[in-house]
Symmetry: C2
Subunit: 722 residues, 2 copies
């Protein structure tokens, strides 16, 4: 059985696991008629939103596909379509199980905490395994077809372009889904809170609030479907770029190349198995809910170490063998590990390495994942200094809460940056840019488990809302609240993980960019030195993109939330029966309003990272020639990651910390619910909402799109391979 076949089978296994587990979820009781009514309204709203979102994205996608067809040919266009469609499917299926598991989780929480946990986590695991499984299937079947039936060599240009186009399809859909879903969920959430909790003084998820269904729809389309599309993209891009950089950088015979290029697929495959095993370890026992979830995560992570070891050995044989030793090195003679004295043209060159080196790089990737989980837990968990300091600052008012929250959000970038820097240095010393790529691959191999933890969150959030609206006993709501509380941390973890892996992947993408440049334009010598002012120009403009993108996202949420407030105020005014509880608010009108706002607001910012690299290249080329155009474009790719890493981490960790500072006060500290400190903490939570769920996470696909568009631009300028 070839390695690719095993990988495909692992992908199928993940899909089968998803199908079987979703059947288990669906077999559970969906509760009483009132609960089913509410759940139906949420389902309807979520489907209506995703339907319209995908229609809009579909129009953009068709236009892009046509452009790709003429610029790069049929194979790349097919790759783009596969990436785009499967990214959409991952999001859609995740949403679909999530809107059914929510009511079942509420029902299960009637009897026990463990019951609720199992139901919600199973739903999350379905989404998680589908993201990893579909991602692996997309790449491995496409790669199998291209190298098998279609008969291309593994390092044929057409394979590089096809995999790039596949990644582009996934990325393009995911930025729309992340941003559109993010705007929807936070506009509804912020709007509902402002007009309900703050103005009308009714509790969260009160059925009298006309925005309450929209808020619950948002959890599904943003935190579930949008997140799933984002992580699908991250998975596909990371594995894809690892394979691309092997094809571009390594000089070896076809058999060796084939072995190396299929290793990321097998690593993805075996880690699907370890992730599935991990899902069965999520049980409460005597510990905390967070502890139960972590049991699953750590089981997967630790089992992955031997699994990756044996996978590497299975593919490469003797782990001490120097890989592609004959004719392997690029045309440079000096010591490549030190990186001295290399002309820019040999930038992509890498040192010789062994299978064991690659294994250690992957262990480093797993360690980075573990450290990011730990750091995120520290910055967003209620047991540590950061969250407590924000809660304490709430005692002196709204202003000091926000000041301290911003301080924590700035500070939270430091440790992840240091972890990434150390990982870059260590993996580069082991195996050059390929080492960095394999570390990123190992990080993403755990995506199934990480997404499972994340997708668990919106289900419990919805379950709480349904319990409240359906008037279930208080102890049910208490259980769903307890399940939901850890969701803030797991959500922040996924985002830190995605952006951290993006930091590594962006370096590999930049390596692919420079190598592509040498392949396509051997006569143009590009100066990527920091002393070239066009490099500085590219860095500055790249660094600007996350800021501008963040501004768009924040403004969109503010504007749409304001519209929700106006709409709800109008409903309260026109129909006094709503507040009295005698007549039902028009939930659908609010859902519809947020849908239109989110779709409208997502388009321009999503196109920013597509248009900017193209515009920069043509403007600088016109001013200073093509070589400087390429130099500033390359610098833009690094500028966007150097700045985006900080913008994204500060927003996602800061937002999580604000949210949990509120929860910490609600747990009875500093006066508890209803105190002045609590009001200040609600303000911080509101500010953190678009930070952590709209602008921050969408920076991850934005970084990748900028990079991939640059690669496609090079291919298009060179005429395309087919």
């Amino acid at each position: 059985m070839t390695t690719v076949t095993i990988a495909i089978l692992c992908g199928v296994l993940a899909v089968v696991y998803g199908f079987v587990t979703s059947q288990q979820v669906l077999r559970a009781s969906p509760g009483d008629a009132r609960m089913q009514d509410i759940a139906a309204a949420i389902q309807e709203g979520a489907k209506a939103y995703l339907g319209r979102q995908y229609t809009t994205i579909g129009i953009v996608g068709v236009i892009v596909a046509v452009i790709l067809f003429f610029a790069l040919g049929a194979i790349s266009t097919i790759g783009f379509v596969i990436g785009a469609v499967l990214s959409g499917v991952a999001g859609y299926v995740g949403m679909n199980i999530s809107v059914r598991a929510n009511v079942r989780t509420a029902e299960a929480a009637r009897t026990s905490l463990q019951g609720g946990l199992t139901m919600a986590f199973r739903s999350g695991a379905v989404t998680g395994m589908l993201v990893a499984g579909l991602g692996l299937l997309a790449i491995s079947t496409f790669f199998w077809y291209l190298t098998g039936p279609a008969g291309h060599a593994p390092n044929d240009r057409i394979i590089v372009e096809a995999l790039t186009a596949l990644a582009f399809g996934a990325s393009l859909i995911s930025i729309f889904a992340r941003l559109g879903g993010g705007i929807f969920t936070k506009a509804a959430d912020v709007g509902a809170d402002l007009v309900g909790k703050v103005e009308a003084g009714i509790p969260e998820d009160d059925p009298r609030n006309p925005a309450v269904i929209a808020d619950n729809v948002g959890d599904n389309v943003g935190d579930c479907a949008g997140m799933a599309a984002d992580l699908f993209e991250t998975y596909v891009v990371t594995l894809g770029v690892t394979m691309i950089s092997i094809a571009l950088l390594i000089r070896a015979d076809a058999a060796e190349l084939m072995r190396l290029m299929t290793l990321p697929l097998l690593v993805g495959g075996v880690c699907i198995i370890t992730s599935i095993i991990g899902t069965y370890m999520v049980r409460l026992g005597k510990g905390t809910i967070m502890g139960a979830l972590y049991k699953g995560f750590w089981t997967s992570a630790l089992l992955s170490i031997p699994a990756i070891y044996f996978a590497t050995q299975y593919v490469l044989g003797d782990l001490h063998r120097t890989i592609g030793s004959a004719g392997f090195l690029d045309a440079v003679s000096d010591d490549l590990t030190t990186g001295f004295d290399r002309p820019a043209a040999a930038a992509g060159a890498i040192p010789s390495f062994t299978g064991l080196d690659l294994f250690w790089c992957m262990v480093i990737g797993l360690a980075v994942t573990g450290l990011i989980v730990w750091i995120t837990e520290y910055y967003t968990g209620t047991n540590y200094r950061p969250v407590k300091s924000i809660a304490a600052a709430s005692q002196t008012g709204h202003g000091t809460n926000v000041i301290q929250g911003l301080a924590i959000s700035l500070e939270s970038t430091a440790l992840p940056t240091l972890v990434i820097v150390v990982a870059v240095i260590a993996t580069y010393q082991l195996a050059g840019i390929i080492g960095i790529a394999f570390a990123a691959t190992a990080m993403l191999a755990l995506a199934g488990m990480v997404v499972a933890l994340d997708a668990y969150g919106p289900v419990t959030d919805n379950a709480g809302g349904i319990a409240e609206m359906a008037g279930l006993p208080d102890d049910v709501r208490q259980r769903t609240d307890a399940l939901d509380a850890v969701g803030n941390t797991t959500k922040a973890v996924t985002k830190g993980y995605a952006i951290g892996s993006a930091g590594l992947a962006a370096l590999v993408l930049f390596g692919a960019y420079t190598t592509d440049l040498q392949t396509y334009f051997p006569d143009v010598t590009v100066d990527f030195s920091l002393s070239n002012p066009y490099v500085i120009v590219g860095l500055l403009l790249g660094a600007l993109l996350p800021y501008l993108f963040g501004a768009f996202g924040m403004t969109a949420v503010g504007r749409a939330a304001g519209a929700v407030v106006e709409e709800v105020r109008g409903q309260f005014r026109d129909n006094p029966g709503i507040m009295a509880g005698t007549s039902r608010p028009n939930y659908g009108r609010t859902v519809d309003l947020v849908t239109r706002a989110a779709i409208k607001e997502m388009i321009v910012p999503s196109l920013l990272p597509v248009a900017s690299p193209i515009a920069l290249y043509f403007i600088i080329t016109a001013v200073a020639g093509q070589a400087q155009g390429f130099a500033s474009l390359g610098a833009m790719l690094l500028g966007v990651i150097v700045s985006g890493l900080f913008v994204a981490i500060s927003m996602t960790s800061g937002g999580g910390a604000w949210d949990n500072a509120k929860k910490y006060i609600e747990d009875g500290n500093y006066g508890g619910k209803g105190s002045e400190a609590h009001k200040a903490a609600v303000t911080g939570d509101t500010v953190g909402d678009p930070y952590k769920d709209t602008a921050g996470p969408a920076v991850n696909p934005m970084i990748k799109i900028t990079n991939i568009v640059a690669l496609l631009l090079l291919a298009a300028l060179a005429g395309g391979a087919g």
Copy 2:
């Protein structure tokens, strides 16, 4: 008369102007006994704080001076001391006039708006001219001594090192002064507001508030003395690095080098004259207060164009002559303007240029200043979309106010970045890195006028406080409020201007770094290419510095403000007579508390940019060798500017916009004072305070220190020149 002599005379003229104008200010009536009492308390607090601040800085300064003496020798140590002492003097004298002009402005505002404006602006102009005059005197007399009596050639290593050390002295003092003063002013301001306006419900500047004197002291030690030290640093570093890069990069005979190196001094000199003329144009007439201030600014800016033209012609003669045409170019043969095909070693190489090219570069510098003024006015003025959008968002609560404010702060980085990028491209095309340097010099040549506009702000702020505390009639307070309202914009302008010039100066500093590297370590070839992972590591860690620094600054303000709140609550509790108005609060104890907090909190963050480059170099050298140590250190210098530019602009513009959104509501929009929208806007204002007055502005000296420390490290590693 030599060019240097003229420059020295212009510096003397500025000091004379400062002396004469301060006499005019002091001759005015200081008001009644109550007003004088209050002013005396502010004076005492400000002097006590600055005394302790300078003592602490002095200890650090002496340690650094001793290290410098052993690392680089006597001349550099003298340069360091001159820079440090004059930076301190500029801040001290500025504070000294400011604490006397405040009460006189309040008194003058009894009779007319014009009277108050004249008094406050004259005080600002004293500070402005002293900053520019002392800065120019420091460099030009030191340069005169070194090239005259001491007999060194203008491009002798000792001159480069001495000017670098001079800049270091100015920078080191200014980061402490900016940060210490910034923490003081905002801790007092935020603390006073929280406990007074919010908790006790008494108006701003109410004499019953025990923190009210500390708040007014803060305006003088932060917004005046700290700002003056910061701009002194910016002035000295910018002119100094322009001269250094001429010495390092240009191959010409000593006479031509002397001409080129003294040109920045003469440009600084003539612009002092145009700035002085501008100060006489600040009169109300029929227009607005902002219009009156702008009349002064635009007069200076427009007169500077012909003044710079004639200065350039005076120094260089025929403006069409190619400068240093024989033996001028570095040892590279290809077309240097395009920057293609240059090995890293020739990075510092510059194209040939004429005097006219330099003139146009300086005009571009003036244009950048004008554009930044215009953009900052747009983002922080009450007449435009950004501020109005924050005010409108206040209607739906604290949360939406902060969300919209953050969105504007992110967005406000875009236009300044584009302006800087275009200026870099245009000046580089005209005259290479030297062109960028001259553009920065022309920007800073207007420092006298820009600082005058800024230093006017704290005086009017204090005048308002004194009017309130002394119980002057309402119309006096209305006049001082009107004068104060434009202060938010002029303060934001100065910060945008300083950080914009830092963007240009940092590129020149990086050029100096690479050239120094080649001079000191000709055998080490350093790869500054973006495909070198150690470059990425340096970029990432450099980009981290402003975030970490910002986190420290925000936390410090939050913590110190919290301590103020506790202290004031204690005074209210222990002495009920305070609120009743029957007994006087203990102002001194609050001043003392804030003083201790600010001094304690400023030390660690101020040392961050000093220690980080040194630590990075030694760690990376240990891991991967010296060449990679140099590569990552160089990349850190650019990482800190690429990220710092955005952090600083977003904080300073965003903070200004929040402040004026509150003022816009107080002007009667969206319900005016006391409305719910106003309360939300007060929260935004509080958040903006440490953003715009503590963390944001201190990023500017931080960027410069990181760069200068790297230059000194190179010199020290190479053994020093004397």
